[in-house]
Symmetry: C2
Subunit: 457 residues, 2 copies
């Protein structure tokens, strides 16, 4: 192993190869407490594509697995170290190489922080939609690897919808360029979208060409409260059926509401559920959209509906949604699940989570992106209690089973990683799993990249 | 071969196995005159997924290649028969299995005609965006296989952006289900988008779950004329830079305009170029968008700009664009190319096509989807003249070289098929080609599906 370490130091410089266990400990896992993680041989922080290629070649020659990693904000353990691996961290490759306003695209290195890109393109009147909750510290590389979503998805899609092309270092160190700089193009297989969401199992993304959108109008905001979960679910269905596409549509269940009320020392006047919606269409279009949403909410039995086009007030109304996880910390540690169900089944998911919470004897707060059915039931437990942790794990799994039973998927945006491998196999079945293994073997025959993540080889 | 034919008859019924050369001749090629085509052993028209699986298993056992085919409206030769193959035609599998308005999705068989799906979902106030020019006869299966585009793409993307999941018969007859029914989901590799656009080289799509959108507002239309190609190109750039996203933005060059004027016996008052734009945002939003487009056109030096929200008048204005190919038929046969360039390079592409036209001594009319840079230079030639045909071929290739040189791609929406194999190799390079071959081998190790299409094995 000493010869590999020497090669890595030659490749990226001694200062960019970390081996001190106290230091590498910070790179062993991401934000998902349930996923397994090992002890890396080393953590390397390359500064260029050439350095990434040298690292990949050295590890391939030594037969040492590579786990690519961005900021470590993931929630699936995809970036967790496997025993004896090299963790390849892309945070030093953080240059925004180009912003081309006339063709509405940006070319970036993988270590660029999502928020930094958003801010840089906003200066040109442009918008990079994907906005995972960790947008102020997660990196574009991690967003690409996980096909990250966020609050914007209901109107603007997920990360894959904003990617035009990639540069990827393959398992033999060769450099693959996928996609193009044009907004349309069908030359060959869509390798770009194959790498997006492949969770570091197929190669290391070293550059991305991203499609930008015009900066939307300042948002108008609507909040609606409901006396029953069913009524809130019906409101979501009515909005979808009315053909309105809000730019944000979030739901909070009873448990979330109570936690936030206690945390913010306020009364949200919401019995069972709260919906928050925004329109960024501006002017009359925004008013028309919010009016249609209001009508849908009232028709579904909303107790209170309030809309505003005042920006500061809109931000205040969103505070409740953004405060949920912090509010839950008063009760213990939290574990966020991630299922996506058909939009008509949101109420069933929330009701099911109430049942699961009662069964395991833990608090489960459901918040989620109602506009696309992507729900984040969040389980609260006492981290010092092994018993509570085990019950939290049980709830986590039962929620996934519930999501599948409702016609959904076991991950809407967080990914499979090292925490949902068995669930991926359940969702896609033996033929799906075989094709995954075939694709993995075709691109990474020696199982160099993130081995055992997403699925067993 | 008799035993294979017997097995095929057993699989799909004798009436659905065509072997008479006079009959199978109609299935030998698509609409691209330049692509090679062979003589099929048989044409089979299965009626169900089970029948497709039986056909695939029989052909795999016999080592007989399969060329999947929809309506044959393609423009790349992707559906052209290879010598001695079985052409598997999916047009009999034409059921719309489900329309779910509450979750805005449809489940369809591959043989459904694009227009039939559009009409069926419109009854529910819903919209299936992809609208290739052949939408009144092309099938969804072909649209999926080629990742078809159309006029809608500037606002609504291409086919892959509307696909949630697929059912695919693999080379060993196994049935793969990809994707999901939810609008978001990241469980595993994005196999859905790998199969979309794979041009029948990886499997046979037998079912698709498609995402629908709310039906847009009735369109408002704007037409602008320009005295120079550069001014029209500048107008497109200004519209993009202004952050306006029209629902349609088409360009016609001088040659197209003259042909249409002669055909429709009218004067379009357009010297060098004509832009047609629509907004389907409705009401004030549409007026705002068209006003911004008008300002961009005037700023770029438009000679005449006219906008209307009258539906019938808007349709009339679009007549010119729709009449181009018919108008060109007066002069001879036409051959439509398909390149996509950065939106800032549209004028350069048109100017380059004028140069190529002069060089080869043929008429080249450029029409295209200006909003996304996807241009269709159309070469007119005398089909009875071998010399003109050869010059048309030369122009076809030179246009592709020009597209690449301008930073574009050799196919924006028609695909690679059997006509642009060498150009795909040029565009993606040796590493890209190797990965294509690796993926193909992983999914179709015996090279059963559409062998030699898209790239040589």
């Amino acid at each position: 192993m000493e010869s590999l370490l020497a090669e890595l130091r030659a490749a990226v410089g001694a200062g960019a190869v970390l081996t001190d266990a106290d230091v590498t400990a910070g790179y062993r896992r991401d934000m998902m407490p349930l996923a397994p993680h090992g002890q890396p041989l080393a953590v390397v922080l390359p500064s260029s594509t050439a350095q990434v290629r040298a690292v990949v070649r050295a590890c391939a020659a030594a037969g040492t697995p590579i786990v690519p990693r961005g900021a470590g904000s993931g929630l699936s353990g995809a970036a967790n170290a496997v025993e004896g691996c090299v963790v390849l961290v892309t945070t030093k490759m953080d240059a925004i190489l180009e912003i081309d306003p006339d063709n509405r695209l940006a070319v970036v290195e993988p270590g660029v922080v999502n928020l930094d890109l958003r801010a840089a393109v906003e200066k040109h009147g442009l918008f990079y939609p994907p906005d995972p909750s960790s947008y102020d510290w997660c990196t574009i590389g991690g967003n690409l690897a996980t096909n990250a979503g966020g609050l914007c998805c209901v109107k603007y899609g997920v990360t894959t919808d904003s990617v035009l092309g990639l540069e990827v270092v393959l398992a033999d160190g060769e450099l693959l360029r996928t996609g193009r700089r044009t907004v349309k193009g069908v030359a060959g297989y869509d390798l770009t979208k194959l790498f997006v969401g492949s969770e570091g199992t197929l190669g290391v993304i070293t550059r991305a060409t991203l499609a930008l959108r015009p900066l939307p109008q300042a948002p108008s905001t609507l909040v609606a409260t409901f006396g029953s979960t069913a009524a809130a679910g019906a409101a979501v269905s009515r909005v979808v059926a009315e053909g309105v596409v809000p730019s944000l549509m979030e739901i909070m269940d009873r448990t979330s509401i109570r936690a936030v009320e206690q945390h913010l020392r306020t009364d949200l006047n919401a019995g069972a559920a709260l919906l928050l919606c925004q329109s960024d269409s501006g002017g009359e279009a925004a008013r028309r959209e919010l009016a249609a949403i209001e009508q849908a909410c009232v028709g579904a039995g909303a107790e209170l509906v309030y809309a505003t086009d005042d920006l500061a007030e809109g931000r205040d109304l969103l505070t409740a949604r953004r405060a949920v996880l912090t509010a839950l910390e008063v009760y213990g540690a939290w574990l966020t699940d991630d299922v996506c169900v058909p939009r008509t089944r949101i109420a069933d998911l929330i009701t099911g989570c109430e049942r699961i919470a009662a069964e395991v004897g833990l608090r489960v707060a459901v918040v989620g992106h109602a506009g696309d059915g992507n729900m984040h039931p969040t389980i609260v437990y006492d981290p010092s209690s092994q018993d509570e942790f085990a019950r939290a794990e049980r709830a986590f799994d039962e929620i996934l089973g519930l999501g599948l039973a409702l016609g959904g998927t076991v991950t809407g945006e967080h990914g499979v990683g090292k925490v949902k491998r068995e669930w991926l196999a359940k969702e896609i079945g033996p033929v799906g799993l075989r094709v995954h293994r075939d694709v993995k073997r075709a691109l990474d025959p020696e199982n160099l990249f993130n081995p055992g993540s997403m699925f067993s080889p």
